[in-house]
Assembly symmetry: C2
């Protein structure tokens, strides 16, 4: 048997339906796909490969999936913290976006985020922002896999001075990127039920449906939003969107914090996917989404970091750790969210939530070779009893040694393989200095 | 002016009372102490040093202080997760301790923990365990600073088959290590009000007071403990300890989750320090300590990771992040625990809680040169607006480049300077294999 590459001498955390963990396993890659997964060491008489990759006793797992992010916002990392969502958004983030976000800065921020994600083991992300064409160009060169949504909002936004053109811009973007690259899936992202009119919501969903792409939206993130929709429409945000016909199996809702049992029934029956963003919801004091109830209802729930302006990093390892611990303490039940459940959220359930579970999310034959290797030869990962426990409770993004997307090595030995990390950081730092000089509010 | 070393070209995060942050600052070290802190680059005509240490634009801050840990328990990292505290303790941790904890394994675990702490920027820890003599030997060779407490419990424990001897052993331990090394401060640690009789508690506190050392205890960690003390004594755990005369300014209580306003008044008026352990409390679903109320009351509150069996790492950067976010979401107030407040908890307030604020916890002239340097040349720390925001919300232990205790370099360029990291990990891994083979319960 001849392969392009064989990863061996690692614990293979398959995240397949049986959650098989193969100690001393091998993953054989051919034409960018996982061709074989088996137990055993390198049998060089029976297996031939252009490259044998020694995992050195580390953990081999499917690349992580970040189901909700705003890639360009990494240039606002730490600009404004410890504020209520409305003040943070209206007094800091929206003004900074209006002054500084253009095609160039959007691309610079997206490049920085792609670099950060790859170095910390994320191989697929689901983004929503403006000037998404520039995001797609950054993703194209980074080699990462992404669902990339052009944003729609009924206010002037980066690249769209005239809100009336928001749907036209979104449709043109989708049409340009459909079938342009098999790693990039275009999508449409309505900001929220309180920043888009019902007309905008319905027409954006129609445009997404016409193109056959995923429709994304922030829903029920804060109590303020839920109260406002209740006041204006007499129903919850989820029921409001359902009344507009927005919710179906091609819809991904982010946050879903302020939902009740009736909302959960609707989300399940419509086949909606949910992106859970615990760190962002905690940092903005938005609340705690009832994730155990979502999962028990059968709703696909992925993990998301949200943008760097509200988290402030894109590390899905610490996000897993937080997700596992937050729901334990909130429910006063330490069994409610175990390590396997959380690891599934960051991989196969995330893939389900964005409709890509046939292609990614687990190490199974026929899936894309989106793989990462964790270096466990470190004090904080010693000793090992249950490898999945370390992934959720002890590891961090910097433990990622190698990253492959479609079998292409993008990180080797903790270094980005194809990107100029120094130049990407320099460009982002220069933008940061510009933002700080021109935009430093009195309150800083 | 002649110094042993001068750290320059960094942001100096002093954590002094004014929380001064000096961009392009210098820290001059002489005889293990901070001799001068000033703004400006290297003036080699006016300043002479044996070594000029270039912080390369990074962050220079006081070494972090972990106010509650059980160092030897790192060898149980990830052995049993996702269980209620009582089951985790009684069915997994206590049996594993009984079978496997001897002087050798305690030392091996403590060595592993010291290595992990140093690499992630902790320069002082406050430990409580058994066979503490072996912990002290490991700390002595690691070069870290520590308050090390011999454990007292009314059950057979590692090194103490006969519980009646627990106080005798503790007193002998304290006497041996008092004045043995200026980095090691001995202490006595009663496990909890429900595992020590009132007689044991009182006599242990008397022994600590006689020796003039800190008395530590787990208090009000779980609702079960609070209910039990209420049933047995008719009062809360804090009031129970107060009724025994246990609480004073030489007492450090860990957890303090199940406390009411009356308890907070008592803790403040007695001058008690508190160790807040958010990740452990979340993972074991114990609850959320009312930390903003403690701080507002004027109680010194430090951060602790707790032992690796319940966290599962010793990274105070992710602990800071969790502390900041947890209290925001629980109180529904994003302003309640800002980055500076949290960074103070991990440094100067931790020092206050353990009675060492005159020696450590901030970068001020005359204090010990316990310093760390953060490497910010990384995507997830780019750009920089507010350095303290990055420390709490974006950084992780692996971002620590250099660590000094009393001016002695213990980590240089992310590598332990004086320890054989490979040998320490090998020994811990070998112990892990032994524990796994002989102790793997049916439920695994």
């Amino acid at each position: 048997m001849k392969y392009d590459a064989i990863i061996h001498n690692g614990w293979v955390i398959t995240v397949n339906p049986a959650f098989e963990i193969i100690e001393n396993g091998m993953v054989c890659v051919r034409n960018g796909e996982i061709a074989q997964v088996k137990k055993g060491g390198p049998d060089t008489n029976a297996y031939f490969a252009d490259e044998w990759i020694d995992a050195a006793g580390g953990l081999v797992l499917p690349g992580l999936i970040n189901t909700h992010v705003h890639l360009p916002m990494s240039i606002f990392r730490g600009l404004a913290d410890d504020l209520p969502l409305a003040q943070w958004l209206n007094e800091h983030i929206f003004p900074a976006e209006n002054h500084h976000m253009d095609a160039e800065s959007v691309k610079a921020g997206a490049r920085l985020s792609c670099l950060e994600m790859l170095l910390s083991g994320t191989t697929t992300c689901c983004d929503g922002y403006f000037l998404e064409d520039s995001v797609a160009e950054a993703v194209l060169e980074a080699g990462i896999r992404a669902v990339l949504a052009q944003g729609v909002i009924d206010f002037p936004a980066p690249g769209i001075c005239e809100p009336a053109r928001n749907l036209e811009v979104a449709a043109a973007y989708v049409s340009k990127w459909q079938n342009a690259c098999d790693r990039i899936v275009p999508s449409i992202f309505c900001h929220s039920p309180y920043t888009c009119s019902s007309n905008t919501l319905v027409r954006a969903k129609e445009a997404a449906a016409r193109a056959g792409v995923c429709f994304q939206i922030h829903v029920a993130e804060t109590r303020g939003e839920a109260d406002r929709i209740q006041n204006e429409h007499g129903i919850s945000p989820v029921k409001y969107l359902d009344s507009l016909g927005i919710l179906d199996e091609r819809t991904l809702v982010s946050h879903a914090v302020w939902v009740d049992e009736g909302d959960i029934d609707i989300l399940f029956s419509r086949g909606v996917g949910i992106s859970h963003n615990p760190e962002s919801n905690m940092k903005l004091a938005s609340g705690v989404a009832p994730v155990p109830a979502f999962i028990n209802a059968g709703i696909p729930v992925g993990l998301g970091t949200d943008g760097c302006a509200s988290n402030n990093n894109l590390d899905l390892f610490t996000e897993m750790d937080t997700a596992a611990k937050l729901h334990k303490v909130v429910s006063q039940d330490p069994t409610v969210m175990d390590a396997r459940r959380v690891l599934r959220m960051a991989t196969i359930e995330g893939a389900r939530a964005i409709g890509m579970e046939r292609r990614i999310g687990s190490i199974e034959e026929g899936k894309s070779a989106d793989l990462i290797i964790i270096d466990v030869r470190q004090p904080h990962l010693t000793p090992i009893y249950h490898p999945e426990s370390h992934l959720v409770y002890a590891a961090r993004g910097s433990d990622v040694r190698d990253v492959f997307v479609q079998g292409v090595p993008l990180v080797r030995d903790h270094e980005a393989a194809g990107l100029d990390a120094g130049a990407i950081m320099d460009a982002a730092a220069a933008l940061g200095r510009k933002i700080w000089q021109t935009d430093r509010p009195e309150s800083f």
